[in-house]
Amino acid sequence: MNRRIERYRNILDFALSSLLRRKGKNLSLLGMYTVIVFFIASLVFFIQALKREAALVLDGAPDLVVQRLVAGRDDPIPVAYGYKISAIRGVSEVKPRFWGYYYDPVTRANFTLVASGDDPPGRESIYLGSGVARLMHLNAGNYLSLRGAKGASQVFSVQKILASNSELVAADLIQIREDDFRTLFDFPAGRATDLAVSVRNKVEVPTVAAKIAHEFPDTRPILKSEMLRTYASVFDWRGGMVIVLLFVAVLSFVILAWDKATGLSAEERKEIGILKSIGWETGDVLILKSFEGMVISLTAYLAGVCLAYLHVFFFSAPFFEQALKGWSVLYPQFKLAPFVDPYLLCVLFFLTVCPYTVSTIVPSWLAATVDPDTAMRS
């Protein structure tokens, strides 16, 4: 048993020594490999952290949102619907919500105006999302002028800047009082944008939704799980775009790695012949080449993953954030909470380490099965 361990140790020693002999080739390969792993791992970390972030933010969302549809389009919903919905068994609370979009031609940005909330601002005052505040260079105590639906401008005092822990979803948010909202948008009385419905037993949410849809055929109940799914698919889709680009990079790398790994030089072939002629078995040569491949790929994997972790969770992924966090000019600025999915790390490991290791073994195996007398004649 000890001899077997010693054998592996000796061959590993020689593998490390062999790698050092071809510093230039191996370092360039290691660098390239690390960069690819870094990009893929960054992307995986980023998407996972974003999805988790969105899930955390939506955790406080209502169980159901009821919208009214007219000719298949959203229309303000009568607040009176809420009284009837609250009478459905299992419904604990119904709250009308007021929200809409405001396009600012100066900054060319769309803001989300919201008029619900337990802590509304004072009259003719607003709360600003940190993205809006940053874009418009506003602080608490400053004033913001918004152009109303009838063409008149309304001036609001900035009461506070919203905390940045929910910046991903709330970067473009402006929170406003309900009466100011109605005045600004000339919103019809007795109507709300939608209704937020809370249900006591979460298992009953689909049943309650079905009852609402039955009782109010002109409405569309949206489940919280559907909202979470939509967010997840949006992040997946954005990630998918970068994955397509990365695929091209990975493919280039695979071609390069294959070329480097499979193309045994005449010197390497001769060395395999020498090793066999002095008593190395074909299996010993394969172990040697596997160790060489594993050292390169494992080092690149670990370095790439560690760098990706730093890139995403300590430096907020500067390479990706503009492509992935949103399309508007209001790019959120916040630190993602570190979150690593071991399953994805394993997938990444098998996609990067295994193919390279195998690609180094095959040509060595072909070379090592040749009679060693070629070494005698070289």
């Binding site: 010693e6 140790r9 000796n10 002095i278 008593g279």
Partner: protein, 242 residues
Amino acid sequence: MIELIEASKTFNAGQANQFIAVDKVSCRISRGGLTVLKGPSGSGKTTLLTLIGCMARPTSGRILLHGVGKVCLPGLAVEDTVEITSLPERFLTTIRRRMFGFIFQHFNLVRGITVLENVMLPAYPTGAPVAEVRLRALELLETLGVSRHAASRVERLSGGEMQRIAIARALVNDPLLIIADEPTAHLDSRLSEEFMELVAGFKGAGKSVLIASHDPIVYGAAQADAVIEMRDGRITGCGTHP
């Protein structure tokens, strides 16, 4: 110790460029002596060495190793005979590692690593503790007078020094038979004489030596116990001295 019975080696068999390198060679190589294969270039000496050294298989004929069964393969008795002609590759490798030490014409040292590592290389897959192998390698380098180069890269050494490193490497697994192919081809007369003195030392230590050479310093040496003369793949003469 080694017996060849009508051993032949044909390259590119059945093709237009078919070439018979060794043609029905039968001979015996005795234990504890120096046997020299003498002949011009292309006479089949090197091919015969590769057949005896388990580096290639004969196309036809048999090669037998007498009285070394225990050394060759586990489970055999000392007096057992092993026919290497039909053995699978992994058994051939075991025999090659345990029985033979090779000194190549061009030394075939691995460039880029140290002299000490080169000498230790054949022992790595045996699973011997690295400290033990290192000590043995250093002792061999000391015996051969090149221990000062232990930490040097092999490509920085002279031809004579490289040959001594190749000898040390051939001896590190303590083989029964040392096989050398044209060992003096790249040495001047003085170094060739020194090499033959080393060979005398091997004989004194109980090792068998088989050398292929067309250098008179080798085949004319007093240490040669048998000289086998070859031409065109056949044995044309045999004796203690040509």
